[in-house]
Amino acid sequence: MAIKVGMEVSIAAAEAVKQANTDIVAAYPITPQTHIVEHLAELVNNGDLDAEFIPVESEHSAMSVCAGSSAVGARSFTCTSSQGLALMSEIVYIAASLRLPILMLLANRSLSGPLGIWNDHSDVMSIRDCGWIQVFAENGQEVYDHVFIGYRVAEDRNCLLPFLVNLDGFILTHMVEPIEMIDQAVVDRYLPPYKPLYSLHPDHPVTMGAFADPALYTEAKKAQDEALKGSLPYIMKGWQEFGDLTGRYYHPIERYKTEDAKVILVTQGSLGGTASIAIDNLREKGELAGLVKIRLWRPFPFKEFREAVKGAELVVVMDRAISYGGPGGPLAGEIRSALYAQERRPRVVNVIAGIAGRDVAPEDFERMLQQAQQGSGEGYEIYGVRG
């Protein structure tokens, strides 16, 4: 059994990118993603990673470079945050439609304006429909592990989709914590070199990115949608095999004390642990509370989610992004529609909290759950806002 090493999560992520024998790193600096890229530059310049490090002039070009390099069959990595994602988002969508297995780490941060460098999920929610496989990591270990899992699943001939790992900015990127590193031999066993189905090479000329008129566009989009939906079993397979090698098993939905829960809190990302403390506290006070953490965001695991909340009377969804003038936060919107067709459906109360670095402590979760008891289930509340 490998020992745990204390390191900053960003460093661990970069080490994983190295261990995955990445060929191309293209990135532009943005807080709080910088430590990942800085460490990768160091690894490349010290000869520890044989890759091309491409210090692009913008995030738009970072994703464009990755599109080009992935299209020739190179294992390609980028990472960004907030405004950087917004700038590159045009190409993020195209990378999915081209079915290029690029890996991206997103250090989640609020979108301007006002400018704020702190953590929430408004950046990733702006590309919710980009067609990538998207997961949320709860801790540094999950970030490190999902570099390997991400490449493995993305490059699976049954998927061939880009893979996005969300890690909360600062809360994870700047956190020093114990990480269990995987032996290189195990990494090599789990993650074979990328063998593209199609690649740009003169020996077999192909055309990529052709345009579609209305007679074919719908078919192209249907194929893309089926590919993303159809990736679920291969994501599960990637997790299963990773678990068999490391003992760490991941699931689309993580449940905490949901079996008999009447009130279930739903979160994504690094606040899951904090939320679980609130659940313990509420249980001590006699509340039948439980927690559901959504790891897999796309494709959305409808079946697993419905199963997880089936006994609940009240589901409290904590969103970390606002859909201005909409029905609720993006996560609550998903969850309400996931449950709408159910015969017995719980009331879904939406709380928006932890926006742009506003700290959320266990007591906050407790208060949210208590306040939600009175919630109508319509619209949303912004927790802790003054005035």
Binding site: G6, F170, I171, H174, M175, V176, P178, I277, V360, A361
Partner: protein, 181 residues
């Protein structure tokens, strides 16, 4: 679980102190977190960093509001920032100051234990500059044995290389010279 809040000025290495402490705990096979205050502070501005140490997996990711230990790296911050804010009654304030614990207790009105050491002097003598982040770790370990002093050697060596010896010596001296009340 022990929660520690560190006060310093940007560029003085408060984050490094927190990290070294966490790394020491992890070397012991325990769980730890170290994280900065996530601010845009630049060199010179008062900053805080945090550290949690536990024998079990740490789930909590919120900021530390009620620390068991407060570590103050810079004497000039003592009167500038409310360093004892939230400090638990059975906690300890560890400060870099020329003054005695008694003086500090009286001046700041701290009810909990107070440990002091003139870390500026030690750092100046041992390292040739008043960067006190490693020196103050000695004071912290004297005031509360959150991590075994021996477990700190390796992280210090990894971080400081050929300068490690002098930092370890500064830490040792502070450990010896710290007064607690």
């Amino acid at each position: 679980m022990i929660e520690i809040r560190l006060h310093g000025r940007g560029g003085q290495g408060a984050v490094t102190s927190a990290e070294l402490l966490a790394l020491g705990a992890i070397k012991e096979g325990r769980y730890a977190q170290a994280f900065p205050s996530f601010g845009p502070e630049r060199r010179g501005a008062p900053v805080v960093a945090f550290c949690r140490i536990s024998d079990e997996d740490i789930k909590l990711r919120a900021v530390i509001y009620q620390p068991d230990i407060v570590l103050v790296l810079d004497p000039s911050i003592l009167r500038l920032v409310d360093v004892s804010n939230g400090l638990k009654a059975d906690g300890v304030l560890v400060a870099n100051t020329r003054f005695s614990p008694e003086d500090i207790k009286k001046e700041l009105g701290v009810k909990s234990r107070v440990a002091t050491v003139d870390a500026n002097k030690i750092a100046q003598e041992e390292l040739g500059l008043t960067i006190t982040n490693t020196t103050m770790l000695g004071a912290l370990l004297k005031a509360s044995e959150v991590v075994d002093k021996g477990a700190m050697i390796e992280p210090l060596q990894e971080r400081f290389g050929r300068l490690a010896e002098r930092n370890i010596k500064a830490l040792e001296r502070a450990y010896q010279e710290t007064q607690i009340l």
